[in-house]
């Protein structure tokens, strides 16, 4: 319940940031820096080191996080689904090669590779989405391949094969519809991770370009002022944690909901 409410809030912030935010997220105000949260001053959550309103940056930051989280997971899910399906349906040497490649990707220290890739390509929203998406599809491929291998042994697939359906047709019309539940659960759970990776990249200074607000880069700024302000490092962190937690809880809930055998547990 709570997680759905928070996800909705984050989504509304992301979609209607310009309407909701009380101030501009990038306009600086040198006379009003590092103000603590207060109800009376007009900066509900205080201001940062450049005098920007933290609440507004937080709201616009939701836009960045949600957008990058959703789009990169969409990319990862697409790549992972195609590889999982092809691997499971065609098997043989195709499967062996694809799984070897998957193992290779799994053995990559992904944050290191992501950092390097963004440093080489230049930091932009598109690059961050591409890098996260192309480094996190392996979970989808592995799990979905397992599901496909189970499905392919079932009678309805055998019947389709016997009646002369091609492998591609079986893959698209018979196998794929049966793995969408798993896909949905995996994607929801993966969004939390993508949000953390984006925040980590921005925290290290290689995520979305400045002055675009991101919760990760807000925390990066706050690190320098940690001896002066307690609220600056705390507020963006709460936002990240709540968003990730909501995605995780929604994923768990979907899994229990869609899989009747787990409902009792």
């Amino acid at each position: 319940m709570f997680s759905l409410v928070f996800l909705t809030i984050a989504l509304i912030c992301a979609l209607f940031a310009p309407i909701i935010a009380p101030h501009s997220p990038i306009e600086t105000n040198p006379t009003n820096i590092l103000k603590p949260p207060s109800i009376t001053s007009g900066n509900l959550l205080g201001t940062d080191n450049q005098g920007r309103d933290l609440l507004s940056r937080l709201i616009y930051g939701a836009q960045t996080s949600v957008m990058i989280g959703v789009l990169s997971v969409l990319l990862a899910a697409t790549v992972g689904t195609v590889i999982g399906l092809v691997s499971g349906v065609y098997r043989g040497w195709v499967d062996r090669i694809l799984m070897r490649v998957t193992d290779g990707f799994l053995a990559l220290p992904y944050l290191m590779v992501a950092l390097t890739a963004v440093a080489l390509l230049g930091s932009s929203v598109i690059n961050v989405i591409l890098v996260i998406g192309l480094l996190r599809w392996m979970g989808f491929a592995r799990v979905l391949r397992g599901e496909v291998l189970k499905l392919i042994e079932m009678d309805f697939v055998r019947l389709a094969l016997a009646s002369g359906a091609s492998r591609t047709r079986i893959m698209i019309t018979h196998v794929f519809p049966n793995i969408t539940n798993t896909l949905l659960v995996l994607a929801t759970l993966e969004i939390g991770l993508a949000v953390i990776v984006e925040a980590s990249l921005s925290f290290l200074g290689l995520g979305v370009p400045r002055p675009m607000p991101s919760w990760g880069s807000m925390l990066r700024d706050s690190q320098l002022y940690i001896y002066l302000t307690w609220w600056f490092p705390i507020i963006p962190g709460i936002a990240i944690t709540l968003l990730v937690m909501s995605a995780n809880l929604t994923g768990d809930w979907l899994r229990d909901r869609l899989d009747p055998t787990r409902r009792q547990l």
């Binding site: 290191m112 390509l121 290290l204 290689l206 925390l219 944690t241 937690m245």
Partner: protein, 310 residues
Amino acid sequence: MGRYILKRFLEGIVTLWLITLAVFFVLRLGGGNPVEYMLPPEATQADVAALTKAYGFDKPLIEQYYIFNKNLLQGDLGTALAWDKRPTVEVVWQRVPATLQLTTASMVLAVVIGVVIGAISASRPDSLFDKVGKVSAIIGQSMPVFWVGLLLILIFSVYLNWLPSAGGVDRLGWKGIIMPATSLGFFLIASHMRIVRSTMLEVMESDYIKLVRAKGLPTRMVIWKHAFKNASIPVFTLFFVNFAALVSGAVVTETIFSWPGIGRLLVDSLILRDYPTTQTVILFASAFIVFINILVDVMYAWLDPRIRVS
């Protein structure tokens, strides 16, 4: 068993080779001429040409790849641009112990705390302790490593002034590792708690536990002597699966706490545009993960003979 180890080992080498292939091509094709990335924007055309020649980037790709592999087999991964132009292997190797200290410390911390809390929760399901534990695990798993680090600094360095916020073990002794290890191991504590709790509950339902309970064994004995032993296999898996995540998390942790490991080296090499060092750090970290994975598979095969056959 010997054959199985050999097979896994060869597969590991193939995986590593695929990674070197990927690193080689991504760094060359993705970024155009790597030299342009390595030099500052104001570098002259002559500088670019000189460095391109020095690194052999002007040769055809196939030839470059041949040289790359030849050098790789001889353990030569090029010389660093920064760090006194020493061989990158030497520069990275020097930083490995600090990262190992950090990852090991956070692993030990996560396993000890996670297992103890998880086991206590499982022994009293739905008690207050269990409920608090469950909620903290869910929150703990959602907190980014770097935020945990900042919070720890805020509490223990800024307000309480108990612990130093930067430096390695060499400079600060054991006190220096507490906060980095806690922040890196924080999400692992949560995942260990959850897995120990759920497997223990499953094991507690099994017939042999009912039997020892029926025999009148005290609960504490049942949990630690009988249930825990069988619940430890998933814990063991989780332990190693998480090593890859730890190596990634180390990048952030080492940056926050100025920890002199390979994670920080990577970030520094990116800032300094020291491309050979970046490449070596990634290859080292990948090799480490591949090695750990082989170790897990072999240990599994040793624990469970069924795996060896399939």
